[in-house]
């Protein structure tokens, strides 16, 4: 099971956190602090895995962003690495050539996407197409809601003229 997902920039800034196991706010900050000092200092050719307090943290660097996932010691690290990649690919599809800025300003979108990929710390949907479709359906709903709202306000505006 995945215990948490962290996105940290190369400068150690937090871009996204998602906790599937229970951690208090204090513990969270501690985890982030410890892991960023552990992971950001690692050289480029080393393993993408770190053993940490009896867990394993699998991380991967994409441009200036580190994607980290903490898993149980008996989980398959290579698989976790691919789950990260799966996530990044879906982000890429959604944002179209995703970059760190996309995630900085649309972190809530990233959360929605992550929620469609992982649930309760497990991979729920291994198909990119289906995830994208779901997200699109939700966005569409948002769009129509917006349109309705604007047309409604137009009507009101006209009526009150």
């Amino acid at each position: 099971m995945i215990h948490f997902v962290l996105l940290i920039s190369r400068q150690g800034k937090v871009r996204l956190t998602k906790w599937y196991s229970t951690y208090s706010q204090k513990e969270r900050s501690k985890v982030i602090r410890e892991l960023s000092s552990l992971i950001l200092t690692r050289g480029p050719k080393l393993c993408n895995f770190v053993e940490w307090k009896g867990f394993k943290v699998v991380y991967k660097r994409y441009a200036s962003l580190y994607f980290c996932m903490c898993v149980d010691p008996d989980d398959n690290e290579l698989e976790t690495l691919e789950i990260i990649h799966h996530f990044v690919e879906i982000l890429d599809r959604y944002f179209g050539s995703v970059c760190e800025l996309d995630l900085i300003f649309n972190f809530h979108k990233a959360y929605f996407i992550l929620d469609e990929i992982l649930i309760a710390g497990e991979l729920q949907e291994p198909s990119k197409r289906i995830v994208s479709r779901l997200i699109a359906a939700q966005d569409k709903l948002v769009e129509t809601a917006k349109e309705e709202a604007s047309s409604l306000s137009n009507i009101i505006a006209q009526a009150t003229k």
Binding site: L78, E122, A145
Partner: protein, 956 residues
């Protein structure tokens, strides 16, 4: 890029994100966030905030919380937002609450109702949002409120909903298996779902269930096998392909399940062989995901019943992993090797060089994994080299968590495989010295016991002890020894310091006084030290010599007599009393080297019979056991009991309690800890368990059932009378005398630190007894094993390699050993290839790698810098395109890319950046590189300083 604009965020929010992005220090960031919190607090509580505005506030709260600040003031608004009718707002509300709240938060009760309503919604997106919240927020108490609805949703027409419902049930099962037990059949049903996504999701709960109890699911083996077969044959929709692999995540889950089901089951395993073989063939070893599947196959093969052909294939794949350049694959290879070793120990021999390379690797992760492997393959023949290595590594690291881990591994291996007690003591000394505060106290107690009666042969035993004494006197000179180690040292010096006459009593007591003085705030060590001094004095008196205390020793005793710790006080007074006794009495109280002798306790207290009879004759009332007394106990009785029963300095509440006709319920710990048969153990464990109980259960001390009460009271009295029960008698019964010697504080009630220590020591000591016995056997066996090793050495099959030049002491040590393996170290005729552990060999590869690394790092640093400077004007290029480098061909010129075919190797910018700046010479021009590096750093850390473009366009 669809990132900026169009998402409806206000300028304020963008400003916030921007200013945080530009913050130069953590302090500045904190200041900005705190300011934002103030703003939000004010705004969010204004009356009639428009809903849309509120949504933004909530998102800003999420942001604040993500940065590690407390946004709890706004939680309630997020909860309110989940009640909203609009899906957009509802979703935001749910997102926020799942991020904010843990399952035990008070506000959850306010959401349950909404969740219930939303689960019934016609809109499947609403249901999905609610289910996502269910997974995170519903706790054991609230499960019943939503369970029926979630189960109903398993039949929902939308597969997404079914999938999430499955995952929600899975979560429920993890939290409260009992509430779910009647619903497990649902998982089986969903396995046959038409949608592969739902089927895949079902594998998660099934995996958990099968881990708990494989036998109930044996009937599913064929289904799993056929699903796996279909997946491997690409029968699933293309949508599930991932990097040209058919549904690899589902394959992996299935392989995990099959591994569990096939373990120890011939028939089930038989059904899997074909499909496993198939997957081995079909998985693409060039992609990462292919390797993930292959690795899972190896795990499966190593856990199901043995099939030689599959094992061979697995071994081949493993060797490919090990030979790979990628550290990740090496890591997996080492892990796989560890798994296969169980099946075929010879497999490792072929990879010895690869294993050694990994051990020498600068990558800590790999190194640790390799130690794990070595731990698995330790035999008595290689234990010395392996443990030496582990200890070297243990000394070199500072991470306490791992240090503890590796220290306990060393201890375990040393206990299990130690070739000689001498070696064992050396290893333990090192472990104590470098990780003393991290090892279990029990280990120390075990160790003392070993020194006391480690060798069967008395001569060797005393040799061992005197060598321990000599080495400890030497070690004492070092500063900053861990407390546990000092305890061991004090104990050994006390027991055996003057045994062989090499050292005078005053010399040893002097040393012990030094220890006690240096550790003036560690009561346990002081207790050990003063007890050791007492023993030495006792031995001197018993031997008929006159004891003259050193002045510093006298002052120590004076100091301890006035100590805050009653424990220390008591020993000090005992010591003073002992000095006044004659030789015969002292000999009885403290017989020499009797720490391992058992003591017999006269449980009927027959020696008091004459006194009792006399009293009865004089008209005293006969003793009535408590159980037979009339119901009322008077208060003074209570007081008396308490003093004897649990004399601690905690407040007594009992005196104010009304007398009760029947004894209050007995705390389970006390009951458990009161096996009347084990007489000596009783008081110890009673202390152990009563002390912690007293604060919470004021009646604990007095709550004993009467029968035990009477019996135990007496025992306590007896023990206290003699102070140190271990020495009060030297005949044998069945219990732990050593603990009382080794841990004086365990015997006596005391307050504060010493008390806690004592309790722990007592617990440890008890555990030790059992663990000790079990440990003795392997040690005895060792010599048998050694003989076998010697035989195999000369037979040359399992081939112990030459003692490597790096570890010559090993040979030396072995030769000294009294046991019959003296031949062992003599140059083995077998080829060195037989052994995995040829550490003596130089390993050029890692060195070479280290030499290369810096350049590659430079390469990485240079790349983005040059790119950024050359393309300053394009926003997109600055935050270089995350994914431009994988499969898709570059779409725009601005994207730095490489026509790489292997997305895994090149997805990170570090690699691909290099080709974009071929002009820069790596080696010969360090200054240039450094300059660019500095520029790049600046760019990275302070984007707005050098490169305002990163943000300018966003705001436009």
């Amino acid at each position: 890029m669809g990132s900026q604009g169009g998402w409806g965020q206000s300028k304020e929010f963008l400003d916030l994100v921007k200013s945080i992005g530009e913050a130069r220090s953590k302090a500045e960031e904190d200041r900005i966030v705190l300011q934002e919190i103030e703003t939000l607090k004010r705004r969010i509580n204004e009356p009639d905030v428009p809903r849309r505005k509120m949504k933004e506030y909530i998102i800003r709260l999420v942001y604040v919380e993500m940065l590690g600040h407390d946004a709890s003031f706004g939680y309630i608004h997020a909860v309110k937002m989940t009640h909203d009718d609009s899906l957009l707002l509802k979703r935001t509300g749910y997102l926020a609450v799942t991020l904010f709240l843990n399952e035990d938060h008070d506000l959850i009760i306010l959401i349950v109702n909404t969740i219930q309503k939303d689960l019934r919604s016609d809109n499947y997106l609403v249901v999905c949002a609610a289910l996502a919240a269910v997974c995170k927020l519903i706790n054991e108490e609230t499960i019943p409120a939503v369970l029926p609805q979630v189960v109903e949703l398993l039949g929902h027409p939308k597969e997404t909903v079914r999938k999430k419902a499955i995952m929600a049930l899975h979560r429920f099962h993890q939290r409260a298996p009992t509430t779910m037990s009647h619903l497990i059949s649902n998982f089986r049903k969903r396995l046959c779902d038409n949608d592969p996504g739902v089927m895949g999701a079902t594998l998660c709960p099934l995996f958990d269930l099968i881990t708990e109890d494989a036998n109930s699911y044996k009937d599913l083996v064929m289904s799993f096998v056929s699903i796996l077969k279909q997946v491997a044959e690409r029968r699933l929709s293309k949508a599930y392909d991932y990097h040209q692999m058919p549904a690899p995540f589902i394959q992996i889950k299935l392989l995990k399940i099959l591994g569990l089901l096939g373990s120890g089951d011939k028939q089930a395993s038989g059904a899997m062989y074909n499909v496993l073989e198939d997957i081995f063939k079909k998985s693409e070893p060039s992609s990462n995901i292919g390797n993930a599947v292959l690795y899972e196959c190896i795990c499966c093969v190593s856990s199901i019943c043995q099939n030689d052909k599959l094992l061979k294939t697995a071994a081949e794949v493993t060797s490919k992993f090990l030979k790979s350049e990628s550290h990740n694959l090496k890591y997996m290879g080492i892990d796989a090797l560890g798994r296969l070793l169980k099946r075929n120990p010879e497999i490792a021999e072929e990879h010895q060089l690869a294993v050694i390379d990994c051990l020498e690797d600068p990558d800590d992760t790999l190194k640790r994994k390799t130690f794990e492997l070595l731990h698995k393959m330790t035999k008595s023949s290689n234990v010395e080299v392996i443990v030496d290595r582990m200890i070297d590594y243990m000394i070199s690291i500072s991470d306490n968590h791992y240090k503890t881990d590796i220290a306990s591994r060393c201890v375990e291996l040393a206990e299990q495989y130690a070739p000689s007690n001498h070696w064992f003591i050396q290893i333990m000394n090192k472990v104590f010295e470098h990780a003393g505060d991290l090892v279990d106290v029990r280990v120390a107690h075990n160790f003392m016991r070993l020194i006391a009666n480690g060798e069967d042969d008395e001569g060797a035993g005393s040799q061992l002890r005197s060598s321990a004494v000599v080495s400890y006197l030497h070690i004492l000179a070092e500063p900053k020894l861990p407390s546990v180690f000092l305890q061991v040292i004090c104990w050994v010096l006390g027991e055996y310091g003057i045994t062989d006459g090499k050292f005078s009593a005053s010399y040893i007591t002097g040393k012990l006084c030094d220890v006690a003085e240096a550790r003036s705030n560690d009561d346990t060590v002081r207790a050990y030290a003063i007890a050791a001094i007492m023993k030495i004095c006792a031995f001197e008196i018993a031997a008929g010599r006159k004891v003259e205390l050193l002045p510093e020793c006298q002052s120590l005793i004076d100091e301890l007599s006035a100590s805050h710790s009653t424990d220390l006080q008591q020993i000090a007074y005992e010591l003073q009393a002992l000095l006044g006794l004659d030789a015969r009495a002292v000999e009885t109280i403290m017989p020499y080297d009797a720490s391992c002798e058992d003591i017999e306790v006269d449980r009927s207290l027959s020696f008091l019979n004459s006194f009792v009879n006399q009293s009865l004759q004089n008209g005293a009332r006969p003793y009535i056991p408590e159980s037979e007394r009339p119901g009322t106990l008077n208060i003074s009785n209570y007081g008396a009991h308490d003093q004897l029963e649990a004399p601690s300095h905690a407040l007594r509440f009992e005196a104010y309690e009304l007398p009760k006709p029947s004894p209050p319920p007995i705390p389970p710990a006390l009951l458990a800890a009161a096996p009347v048969a084990d007489l000596v153990a009783v008081p110890e464990s009673a202390y152990f368990s009563t002390e912690p109980h007293q604060p919470s259960e004021p009646l604990g001390g007095a709550a004993m059932s009467p029968a035990e009460h009477g019996l135990r009271l007496r025992l306590e009295g007896v023990q206290k009378k003699w102070g140190r029960p271990s020495y009060s008698s030297s005949s044998s019964s069945s219990s732990s005398s050593a603990p009382s010697v080794s841990a004086p504080s365990a015997q006596k009630p005391a307050n504060g630190v010493a008390n806690a220590n004592g309790a722990a020591a007592a617990a440890g000591a008890q555990a030790r007894d059992s663990s000790y016995d079990s440990r003795r056997n392997p040690l005895v066996e060792v010599s048998a094993e050694k003989q076998r090793l010697a035989a195999s050495l000369f037979g040359g099959s399992s081939a112990r390699r030459e003692p490597p030049p790096a570890a010559p002491p090993a040979a030396g040590r072995r030769a000294v050993k009294p046991v019959a393996t003296v031949v062992a170290p003599a140059a083995p005729p077998a080829p060195p290839a037989g052994d995995l552990l040829d550490f003596g060999e130089p390993s050029p590869p890692p060195a070479a790698a280290a030499a290369v690394d810096p350049f590659q790092q430079l390469e990485g640093l240079l790349g983005p810098a040059s790119a950024a400077s050359s393309q300053n004007s394009t926003v997109g290029a600055v935050a270089a395109d995350l994914l431009s480098l994988h499969a898709d061909p570059p779409a725009s010129l601005a994207e730095i890319s490489l026509p790489g075919k292997n997305p895994l190797a090149e997805i990170s910018l570090v690699g691909p950046a290099a080709p974009s700046s071929p002009v820069v010479k790596k080696g010969p021009n360090p200054q240039d590189s450094l300059e660019k590096d500095a520029l790049q750093r600046q760019l990275g850390v302070v984007p707005s300083g050098q490169n305002p473009n990163l943000f300018r366009d966003l705001l436009g």
